[in-house]
């Protein structure tokens, strides 16, 4: 069984440590802190004065209707958007001080899963997990074994040689989860990961999230599926659309 190692304060993978933030990291690994955060596109704010504390090992669901700002929140958390005002610290990194050249390094500390799977169609399941691992984590140890272990963890060890087109939607999403956790992140961010799946596939995908969570990982999942909230969430926050 693949067991992500998340020792307090240790780098998330075999790559170089982020020296200037190591002190912050020691107290913030696996945590998310948002304090009076406002974020938006152009002049309009989508999220306003949002405050949130996610502890290490939490399973947090973000619920709300379409357009409420769930995806915006997830984009903020993986460094695609920066806060307009307020303090946002993810996995020990203050996003306001995140320089553009450090975004890719910051993202390697996280795992991200998207509604549309985002798999490369010409690569097998194993290659889909392995390629980003090899390209992003230069000095990672035994990438092949890690990819295989991640696929085992999501229950797809026997589908490693299959192309995405040969897999069901649920299996494709589990490959995406394997890719997201192969480099042993402390936080897994998921944006509507079951939005395109039927109930059977949804259950398979959620089992994979649970496996990661039981190993001590923090999960933040955006969804509008009430049944998921009842069945899996430890904490739920609800976001309402801003009044015009």
């Amino acid at each position: 069984m693949f067991v992500p190692s998340r020792a307090q304060g240790s780098p998330p993978y075999g790559g170089p440590a982020w020296d200037d933030e190591r002190a912050e990291e020691a107290v913030g690994r696996g945590k998310i802190q948002l304090s009076d955060v406002t974020v938006g596109y152009g002049d309009g704010a989508v999220l306003e004065n949002l405050s949130l504390d996610v502890e290490r090992g939490d399973f947090l669901c973000v619920e709300g209707p379409s357009g409420a700002g769930k995806t915006t929140l997830l984009r903020l958390l993986y460094g695609s958007l920066l806060p307009t005002t307020g303090l946002a610290v993810v996995d020990g990194v203050d996003l306001a001080s995140l320089r553009p050249r450090h975004v890719s390094r910051f993202r390697r500390r996280l795992g991200c899963v998207f509604q549309s799977y985002e798999l490369l169609p010409h690569l097998t399941a194993r290659e889909n997990v392995l390629l980003p691992l090899q390209l992003a984590q230069m000095a990672i140890d035994e990438p092949d074994e890690r990819a295989d272990q991640a696929l085992e963890m999501v229950g797809l060890g026997d589908k490693a040689g299959s192309l995405p087109a040969e897999l069901s939607g649920g299996q494709q999403q589990r490959v995406a989860i394997a890719r997201a956790i192969a480099h042993e992140p402390a936080i897994l961010l998921a944006d509507e990961p079951t939005g395109n799946l039927d109930s059977v596939c949804t259950a398979d995908v959620m089992r994979a999230f649970r496996a990661f969570h039981h190993e001590g990982g923090t999960v933040v999942m955006a969804t509008h599926d009430e049944s998921l909230l009842n069945a899996y969430a430890e904490r739920v926050i609800r976001i309402s659309p801003r009044a015009a």
Binding site: S104, R105, R108, R109, C112, P132, M138
Partner: protein
């Protein structure tokens, strides 16, 4: 010792190869277009190079200059002048031509013969005849003899600075034309390479976005583009060198045979500098294209 750097380079290389292999037909078309453009450029360059060499050779053979001696110059003054002329860098030989010898030569010159016949005395001055390695040193000679008591102050030499300047500028013009043609060719090559790269980025937008989202550094995402455009530059240059060799072995001898006055000569000496120059210029022009093309955020 850790082997991860080697392993990482291997991964990047295999990813770049896989990237390229999937759209190999596009690559072939681009490499062929770049190759044709570079072939045209290198062919022009070869003709200009040979033309320059031929012109320089002809100028060199015609690099004879006379410094006229006044009739009143003493033997010592003439010796001092000869020594001064011999010491000028670029002057390979200095010989004395007497008044009698000059008059004798004039009778065989259709332009000077009437003058020789019409005069009672000998109007042709004695002179020192200089063989120059480069006509460009004529101004230096004129400057050296200026004010010398043995030199005719009215017409000091057969060769003026303006004439030398015209000959030198002819060579310079040829070089500028060749350089301009090269720049045009490289510009066309860069536009073609940019079109290829933009097409690649468009075709792989999803793949690049996924790699960005999972934290692959943007510099690493660019590596396949750099490898691709480098391979286009290498293939295009190889095609251009083949054209160069073909042209040198078949076209140049044919031109020499039909237009012998051009005297283009043996092009073998031009192969290496032109091949190396084409490769270096194509790489230096095309590789920055891979750094300029915009990646998805």
């Amino acid at each position: 010792m850790s082997l991860w750097p080697l392993r990482y380079v291997g991964t990047l290389w295999s990813y770049s190869w896989r990237w390229q292999r999937r759209r190999i037909s596009t690559w072939f078309v681009t490499a062929a277009v770049v190759g044709v453009v570079l072939s045209v450029a290198v062919a022009v360059q070869l003709v200009v190079w040979l033309g320059q060499r031929s012109l320089a050779g002809q100028l060199e053979s015609a690099s004879e200059m006379q410094v006229f001696v006044v009739d009143s110059a003493s033997a010592d003054q003439q010796s001092a002048l000869q020594a001064k002329l011999t010491a000028i860098p670029g002057v390979s030989r200095v010989t004395y031509r007497s008044k009698a010898e000059a008059a004798s030569r004039a009778t065989h010159d259709p332009e000077l013969a009437p003058l020789a016949g019409a005069s009672d005395g000998n109007p042709f001055p004695a002179s020192f005849v200089l063989q120059m390695r480069d006509p460009g040193i004529a101004p230096r000679v004129l400057s050296a003899v200026s004010g010398d008591p043995a030199v005719d102050p009215k017409i000091p030499a057969s060769y003026t600075a303006a004439q030398a300047q015209r000959l030198s500028s002819a060579l310079g013009t040829l070089q500028v034309i060749a350089l301009a043609l090269d720049l045009v060719a490289l510009g066309v090559g860069a536009v073609v390479a940019l079109a290829l790269l933009r097409g690649e980025v468009r075709a792989r937008r999803d793949e690049l976005r996924i790699l960005t989202l999972v934290g692959v550094p943007r510099a690493i995402i660019r590596v396949p583009l750099v490898v691709q455009v480098l391979s286009v530059a290498l293939a295009g240059s190889a095609l251009a060198v083949l054209s160069l060799v073909y042209m040198g072995q078949h076209v140049v001898p044919a031109i020499d045979q039909s237009l012998p006055f051009l005297r283009l000569g043996d092009p073998a000496q031009a192969f290496r500098p032109l091949a190396v120059g084409t490769l270096a210029a194509s790489c230096a022009t095309l590789v920055p294209c891979a750094l300029l093309v915009r990646l998805p955020r």
